[in-house]
């Protein structure tokens, strides 16, 4: 951040830090969402009502841009997946303010529980009746993964496999990188791969197209929890404003009307204050898989 005193239509630098006049928020879809709307207006309205300053919300499909925009101070607040938060923090010292809450998932069946949690899991799925019963059995097999930076689609399962003694890089395993957890599920169903790393429970994304997917593809392994999506502020945001923003989001999640909107549109059910230390696990897992 460049030193204090500079003034623009967007905000002011004070000794305390950055004070926005217009709050610029960007939203990146969570990997674990089953349905999303590419809508900015509803959140804009909710936040303006809480904060009393103009809010500009944009929706992006790639978190690289949001991190870059935060480091060049074009974005004040970003909705980031956990691994993206860690990168943003590394790049520009951005601070996590909140984590989103969602309903947990119940197995078997993959249906949501009515308990709000701030984390989700990843799972390794195989064809029902497959002879892959544990992580050991994955040796020599073909696995569909997401991008290697994806928490649920690569990092978590790969790290836990490694802990269990199955190094995904050197166990004669072939990885096929696909885009989208739905594609991963379908490729298991089709027999193109033996297993796939997906979020829990990505089968819900495919059930519309393949109604009996829950019978045909089953989870073989479920990972430790992964922290949910973050709401992250740019590094130089003044503490006062950090607080204001936290309060605003929590209030939105608490109000009936606000919760309905964020639930419908962003698959969030509420927000809780978070701390950078919640994400040490992300860093640790990333190191585990050599990133």
């Amino acid at each position: 951040a460049c030193g204090g005193g500079s003034d623009s239509s967007e905000g002011t630098q004070t000794d305390e830090g950055y004070v926005p006049k217009t709050l610029k928020v960007q939203f990146v879809p969570s990997q674990a969402a089953e349905t999303l709307e590419a809508k900015a207006k509803p959140l804009e309205d909710l936040l303006e009502a809480e904060l009393d300053i103009p809010v500009e919300v944009s929706v992006s499909t790639d978190y690289n841009t949001i991190i870059e925009a935060m480091s060049s101070e074009q974005i004040d607040i970003g909705f980031l997946p956990p691994n993206a938060y860690v990168l943003a923090n590394e790049q520009s010292d951005a601070k996590v303010l909140l984590q989103a809450q969602r309903y947990g998932v119940e197995q078997p069946g993959g249906k949501p529980t009515d308990e709000l949690v701030d984390s989700y899991s990843s799972m390794i799925v195989v064809k029902t009746g497959s002879d892959i019963k544990n992580l050991e059995d994955l040796k020599g097999k073909t696995i569909a993964t997401q991008d290697v930076t994806s928490s649920a689609g690569y990092v978590w399962p790969a790290a836990e496999m490694k802990k269990a003694g199955v190094d995904i890089e050197n166990s004669d395993i072939t990885t096929v990188q696909v885009k989208g957890h739905d594609q991963a599920i379908l490729s298991v169903l089709n027999g193109d791969v033996d297993a796939a790393f997906v979020f829990e429970d990505a089968r819900n994304n495919v059930v519309k197209d393949v109604p009996d997917i829950f019978e045909k593809v089953e989870p073989m392994y479920i990972t430790e929890p992964i922290p949910n999506d973050t709401i992250t502020a740019r590094a130089d945001m003044s503490p006062e404003w950090n607080k204001k923003i936290q309060d605003a989001f929590i209030a939105i999640g608490a109000s009936e009307e606000g919760r309905q909107i964020i639930s419908d549109i962003y698959s969030h059910e509420g927000y809780v204050v978070s701390d950078d230390s919640n994400f040490d696990i992300v860093r640790e897992y990333a190191k585990e898989v050599g990133q």
Binding site: T35, L36, A40, K41, S58, V59, S72
Partner: protein
């Protein structure tokens, strides 16, 4: 007198080229493992098509400024602006890169080199750069689209220039006209139809460069489409597709009329 045979060296080189081409294709096919049709082909494609033919009509207009109609208009605006800027910027590049009598080989080669570089530079990296500069939003999208398009438009333009009849240019040159006179009195009038069709084609591409606009958070129809595909909401995809098809057809229609007017 008997017909002399065509000079030989041509023939050998042609045979050599044919052989190389055959080798390339053999190599390419060797890399692709052709398999059969999958069990899921039926149910999944049925789901997709049934979604497409039962589009989500409610999305067409919702009045919140983030429905199909508003987003299509926004998309057109971005594409229009991006294409216009890029068409203007492409002109000098095209003349730089065109290989014709007046241009030295070296000059046009460097021009082509630069265009290739622009084309190869990934759109997404451009997008990131512009986001860092002007923040996310339509403006970044416009900039990314317009800069990236230069690589293609200028290349197509320059080939049109290379294929152009030089006669009229000569007449302007012989009347003492400078390069710009030649441009406005001989080159452009001749190239107008081709330039227009390339530009409109590029406009159409820009309209459809959904992914890139989605990435930069530029609004437009790209983002909801990507979300809908990711979430496999085929009814939503269906209505968006219909919207784009209607729009592209309209553009086609208008561009046809425009061409007729200008050609």
């Amino acid at each position: 007198m008997m017909l002399p045979t065509q000079p030989k060296k041509n023939r050998y080189k042609t045979i050599l080229i044919v052989l190389i081409l055959v080798a390339i294709y053999v190599w390419a096919f060797a890399g692709i493992p052709f398999g059969g049709i999958k069990d899921t082909a039926g149910s999944v494609s049925k789901a997709i098509f049934s979604g497409l033919i039962h589009p989500d009509w409610s999305y067409v207009y919702m009045g919140d400024g983030e429905d199909l109609v508003s987003l299509l208009i926004e998309t057109i605006a971005i594409a229009f602006l991006g294409t216009f800027i890029s068409a203007v910027l492409s002109l000098p590049f095209a003349f730089w890169a065109a290989r014709n009598k007046k241009n030295k080989r070296f000059v046009s080669t460097t021009g082509k080199f630069v265009l290739t570089a622009i084309r190869t530079f990934p759109e997404i990296v451009l997008a990131i750069m512009f986001i860092k500069t002007v923040g996310p939003g339509s403006f970044a999208g416009v900039l990314a689209v317009s800069i990236h398009s230069i690589g293609m438009l200028a290349k197509l333009y320059s080939e049109a220039i290379e294929n152009m009849d030089q006669g009229p240019s000569e007449s302007i040159i012989s009347a003492g006209g400078n390069k710009i006179d030649v441009l406005f009195f001989a080159t452009l009038p001749q190239l107008v139809p081709e330039f227009i069709s390339y530009t409109l084609y590029r406009f159409e591409l820009a309209v459809r460069s959904a992914s890139i606009l989605g990435i930069v958070g530029a609004g437009g129809i790209g983002t909801p489409m990507i979300f809908a595909i990711d979430a496999r909401s085929w009814d939503r995809v269906g209505i968006i597709l219909i919207g784009i098809i209607v729009m592209v057809t309209l553009i086609d229609f208008l561009s046809g009329a425009l061409r007729k007017k200008l050609v």
